[in-house]
């Protein structure tokens, strides 16, 4: 198995790994996937005035899953919630040069973002 240099970089030294602490009313989180199916991704976001100030991820899965989650958490920071809704998994797959058979992993990442954003909206902020 060969990985692109981007995957290698984000896998070896992932920015934004971990969780967030802060005032509960500004935090949201979402998770998708299943460890039993080989991939699980979780995002934590801190939102302030409609803007995602901070984002963190946790991921279980192949190098592509971990790299995709790390890159996504990095991209989320500074986006408005509306802009984050526009997340395009295919764009991420292209940027990381993921092989076609790893596309399902990016869909887990997408589901995790949607879960985090839904969690944020459910708080009625």
């Amino acid at each position: 198995m060969r990985y692109s240099s981007q995957v290698e970089r984000y896998f070896d030294d992932p920015p934004n790994a971990g969780v967030l602490t802060g005032p509960a009313e500004r935090l949201a989180a979402g998770r998708a996937g299943d460890v039993r199916h080989g991939a699980q991704v979780e995002f934590h976001i801190l939102v302030d005035e409609g803007l995602i100030r901070e984002a963190r991820f946790r991921a279980y899965g192949c190098p592509c899953t971990i790299a995709a989650a790390a890159r996504t958490a990095e991209l989320l920071e500074g986006l408005t919630v509306e802009a984050a809704e526009e997340f395009d998994p295919h764009e991420l797959a292209a940027e990381l040069e993921l092989p076609a058979d790893k596309l399902t992993r990016v869909l887990v990442v997408e589901d995790a973002i949607r879960a985090a954003l839904a969690d944020w909206r459910s708080r009625g902020s």
Binding site: F11, Y60, C62, S122
Partner: protein, 411 residues
């Protein structure tokens, strides 16, 4: 450190090789003997060319190698048939014996944890109308004699059980199996690709009729192997190929003098160094296991005592197998058998031992060998511990801690 260059990873110009169960480098002493069989000024002639001196010289080298292979396993040289490797030996032994006796007996017994060369040959024989029973090992990878007793039938022609498992290093005790088979007039085949030169073998004491060997697992060349075919009692086979009648007609084709000489020299060295090297590898294997056990939850896949010295298969719960392999890319290790690693599927050997798909997928095989040093082992412990901890810390927690409890996690 015994590092090898890796042109694909220029930033990791060296890797610690711990995949000796997949293959071994040719010992320089072996390579030297092989080189002396190739060119005009060396023993290049056809060993079957009895009419001239160069041919007879090549024949002498081949017979000298046959003696060395026989000596390692307490066989007679005329009981050794040269092949291209253990896969061919397994095919010739199992299909050859089954087809020879097909009119009287049509049942074969083997195990779920055999190498694919055995399992796929058995599958083919099933298509030809044979019945095959596959014994399931216990969770330590071991087959009990009682299981075999219960599986044997009036029409059982052959039992095929490997000596040392290639993924787990589990050792089967052959003597009692061999004695049972001999008593019942059933042929006993053993795949000894992973045990030859690693632990003692005595085909007479073990009552083995057929035994497969590979040169490249013992610091010899790839593309060379042997099959032990017992003469007393006489074990009869149908050949897989037809041709010039070499090797008692069981394996025709011009003998590859350099390959055979390399295998002979490799087996000679293995016999000479077996005791000392076995102890050294056992100590390093124990050091590795001891070091890895500082990680919570790790488990050994295999038998606590019945195991070969050079193989350690470890399950790292909580880390995904592909990620672990990539995180450990400064090492040359594998997630199981090289023969199955391209499939991406969890190891059928570990599955047969009752491991879940996920645990099997989170397992790594470390296999140590002649050029492994204690320094290598310490590096492996340090790197593996660090990377497993890193990957585990990055994974979602299956139960949220108190301070994260306020977060509603879906999915």
């Amino acid at each position: 450190m015994s590092r090898i260059s890796d042109p694909q990873h220029m930033n990791l110009s060296h890797a610690v090789y711990l995949d000796y169960a997949a293959t071994t480098p040719v010992d320089p002493r072996v390579a030297q003997r092989m080189a002396a069989c190739l060119t005009l000024d060396a023993s290049f002639a056809n060993p079957a060319s009895d009419s001239h001196l160069p041919g007879r010289a090549a024949r002498e080298l081949v017979e000298e190698a046959r003696l060395k292979v026989a000596a390692l396993i307490n066989a007679s040289p005329e009981e050794i048939i040269w092949t291209s490797g253990a896969t061919e030996s397994d095919n010739l032994a199992i299909a050859g014996a089954a087809r020879f006796h097909r009119h009287e007996r049509r049942h074969i017994v083997t195990t779920r944890t055999e190498h694919k060369a055995v399992l796929d040959t058995c599958r083919q024989l099933e298509r030809e109308g044979f019945d095959v029973s596959y014994l399931v090992p216990d969770r330590f990878g071991h087959i009990e004699l009682r299981q075999l007793q219960e599986a044997l039938r009036e029409d059982t022609v052959l039992v095929s059980i490997m000596h040392v498992n290639n993924e787990t290093g589990v050792v089967q005790e052959l003597s009692e199996i061999g004695a049972l088979c001999r008593e019942r007039g059933i042929l006993f085949h053993v795949d000894a690709a992973q045990s030859a030169g690693k632990i003692p073998i005595d085909v007479k004491a073990m009552c083995v009729d057929l035994m497969s060997f590979s040169a490249h697992k013992v610091y010899g060349p790839k593309g060379a192997g042997a099959l032990y075919v017992s003469r007393a009692p006489l074990c009869r086979l149908s050949p897989l190929m037809y041709g010039g009648g070499q090797e008692r007609g069981l394996r025709p084709g011009t003998l590859a003098t350099h390959q055979i000489v390399g295998m002979g020299e490799a087996f000679r060295i293995a016999k000479e160094e077996l005791d000392q090297e076995g102890q050294r590898l056992g100590r390093m294997r124990d050091r590795l296991w001891c070091g890895l056990q500082t990680l919570p939850g790790v488990e050994m896949n295999g038998h606590p005592t019945l195991r070969a010295p050079g193989i350690l298969n470890v399950c790292f719960p909580g880390v995904e197998g592909e990620a672990l392999l990539f995180a450990l890319r400064p090492l040359a290790v594998s997630s199981g058998s090289a023969c199955n690693s391209s499939s991406g599927e969890a190891s059928y050997v570990l599955r047969a031992m009752g491991r879940s798909d996920q645990l099997a997928q989170s397992s790594l095989r470390f296999s140590l060998g002649r050029f492994t040093t204690e320094e290598d082992i310490d590096y492996v412990i340090e790197l593996t511990t660090r990377q497993v901890e890193r990957l585990r810390s990055m994974a979602p927690k299956q139960e949220l801690s108190e301070d994260e409890g306020c977060l509603a996690l879906g999915g």
